[in-house]
Amino acid sequence: MSKILLIDDDAASRGFFKTVAEKLLMMDTEEAGSISEAIDRIAEGGIDVIFLDNTLSDGDANAFCARLKQTAPEAMAIPKYVVTGAHPLACSALWTECGILGFLLKPCSIDEIKATVNKCLSKK
């Protein structure tokens, strides 16, 4: 069973994605409320897909990528999607290097989530 890591500082939002992933996509889930927490989870291994909020208490997606590159470069290849409340200007080169395939604008529909997860799994 594929495992998705949900990184979001908003518990309600994280909870919704967890529900959809477990109940509708039949995936295992891991949760993290900050970059530091996420890095620890990734270090444990077994993550297939990462959904990442762009505004976390200890940094944004760029900061996450920088730390990941430093601490767990092998995890750079894990397909990732940014799920954000604010429309980002564009996907940066660092995002691409970090394995970020794109972004989803909150609130997104279940169909959009399904399609995005499938896209990520296909890139693995």
């Binding site: 979001d8 908003d10 309600a12 939002s13 909870g15 919704f16 994605f17 529900t19 959809v20 109940k23 509708l24 909020d53 762009n54 505004t55 954000t84 409340g85 604010a86 429309h87 980002p88 200007l89 564009a90 604008l105 909150k106 609130p107 997104c108 529909s109 279940i110």
Partner: protein, 500 residues
């Protein structure tokens, strides 16, 4: 040099301005009056002489008439003749036929006497050695002695001839008349003196009046000029203040730069706040909308019709709230320095169907017919698909609000040259032409038109649409009438071969 000296003498440097102006005005006026007086006197003199000659000839004519023609001796001499006769005299006569004249004299004693007595002075030139019949007659009629008849009055006498004819126009001779130049001159001098006295009196009066007026006006002028001069001196005296002024300007410039910096910083903070708000509301909205959808899709078990109705209501209102917040935030962001756009070629049909799909339930619930018209399904346009979707969402949302039951909404797009024209048409109440001008203005709501369903909103949807279309290089317009409903068009560039 002379003029300069006269000027220095008349207008010394220490004299006040008002006095200088007054003197200059008086001198000028006096000169003008002198010229005028001289002209008047000359004309008067010429006029007097002319009248004297005329008068002399009149007397001669009357005298000849008294001799040879019937003449009313009782008639008084004219005024002119009376006034001037004192300088005029009968001086002599020369006739071809002395007998005729003699006879005439005999018949006209009383007339001659009348004429002669009317003249205060006359001279009858006579030959002292030879007595002629006229002279004898004149002596007898006038009662004068021979001596008094023999000389001219003192001074030059100008003589004029007056030709005498008889009743049959036959030349009889001439009567000489004389004008005493000396007396005329004396008289003219006397008249001139009188006239001059009058003119000088009037002129002095005029000069006095002019002097007073000019002095009064020049005093006011001088006061004003002195005021200006004082102000100018004050300004000149402030030379050291120029530096101060520069300092003030420099200070102001610095302060303005500081204010500009503060404004820029505030704008930056405001934009950051907007982004934060945008993010902060979207996360809980994800939970609200997401869980509603999850339950509606049966993720939490079977859903009853009643539960479905409530969930639908939650979802719809969450959607409305999200659209509203999105619009407000975007409107704010559009007023900033930059607005993120992800422009690319995208399929028109896809974005239109996505829009229709979003409102499919509402359209069905409102019992409205929807028509999608895209003549070329593969039609592509160049722009930001998310922002285009946002425009279409706003337009379709408006159309649903204002279309009555059984009405029709038509949404579509077609290519014309290098442009794709989108349209959203409804069969709603329509907007009168007079109220269409402000339609794309922020917070404008067409007065007197109520939506068929839902909320009227804040009047920011169309304003946002206009901005979103324009930043993508397009334009937006409306056609509407109360009979046919409303159609909103907007354009975007057609697909680009090599998007920049």
């Amino acid at each position: 040099m002379l003029i300069k000296k006269i000027k220095e003498y008349l207008l010394p440097g220490n004299m006040s301005l008002r006095t200088k102006i007054t003197i200059a005005a008086l001198v000028y006026t006096a000169l003008m009056l002198a010229v005028l007086t001289s002209m008047i006197l000359h004309l008067q003199k010429e006029n007097y002489r002319s009248r004297a000659i005329q008068s002399a000839r009149q007397i001669a004519a009357e005298f000849s008439q008294s001799l040879f023609h019937k003449w009313d001796t009782t008639a008084p001499l004219s005024d002119n003749k009376e006034k001037l006769s004192q300088y005029t005299m009968l001086s002599n006569m020369a006739f071809r036929d002395q007998n005729i004249v003699y006879v005439a004299f005999q018949d006209a004693d009383d007339k001659i006497a009348y004429i002669v007595k009317s003249l205060p002075q006359y001279v009858w030139m006579m030959n002292l050695t030879k007595t002629d019949p006229y002279t004898e007659r004149m002596l007898r009629v006038t009662g004068e002695t021979t001596r008094s008849f023999a000389s001219y009055p003192e001074g030059l006498v100008t003589e004029y001839l007056n030709v005498v004819y008889d009743k049959d126009k036959k030349f009889l001779g001439v009567i000489k008349i004389g004008i005493s130049e000396k007396q005329v001159q004396e008289s003219i001098i006397a008249i001139t003196r009188n006239t001059l006295v009058k003119i000088i009196t009037v002129n002095l009066g005029a000069l006095l009046l002019i002097g007073i007026i000019v002095y009064y006006m020049s005093t006011k002028l001088e006061t004003r000029l002195i005021g200006i001069q004082k102000q100018a001196r004050k300004m000149l005296d402030r030379t050291p203040d120029h530096q101060n002024t520069q300092n003030v300007f420099s200070q102001l410039t610095n302060e303005l730069q500081e204010i500009e910096g503060i404004i820029t910083s505030l704008k930056q903070r405001f934009m950051e706040l907007v982004i934060t708000i945008s993010h902060e509301f979207r996360s809980p909205m994800q939970a609200i909308k997401g869980y509603s959808e999850f339950i509606m899709k049966g993720g939490a078990g079977p859903v009853t019709d009643e539960q479905m109705k409530y969930l639908d209501n939650i979802s719809e209102n969450a959607e409305r709230f999200q659209t509203f917040i999105d619009n407000v935030l975007d409107l704010v962001k559009l007023g900033g320095d930059s607005f993120p756009l992800a422009k690319r070629n995208f399929r028109v049909e896809e974005i239109i169907l996505k829009t229709v799909s979003l409102y499919a339930k509402q359209i069905q619930k409102a019992d409205i017919k929807i028509e999608v018209k895209i003549p070329t399904p593969e039609l592509n346009t160049f722009g930001d698909p998310d922002r285009t979707f946002q425009v279409l969402v706003n337009l379709l949302s408006n159309a649903i609000k204002f279309t009555p039951e059984n009405g029709t909404i038509c949404i579509g797009a077609q290519r014309e040259d290098n442009t794709v024209i989108f349209h959203v048409k409804d069969t709603g109440a329509g907007i009168p032409l007079s109220k269409q001008g402000k339609l794309f203005t922020e917070f404008y709501q067409v007065p007197g038109i109520k939506p068929e369903r839902g909320y009227k909103g804040l009047g920011i949807g169309l304003a946002l649409c206009k901005k979103l279309v324009e930043i993508q290089g397009g334009a937006i317009a409306v056609e509407s009438s109360p009979d046919t409903g409303t159609v909103v068009f907007f354009t975007l560039p057609a697909q680009q071969e090599k998007p920049v």
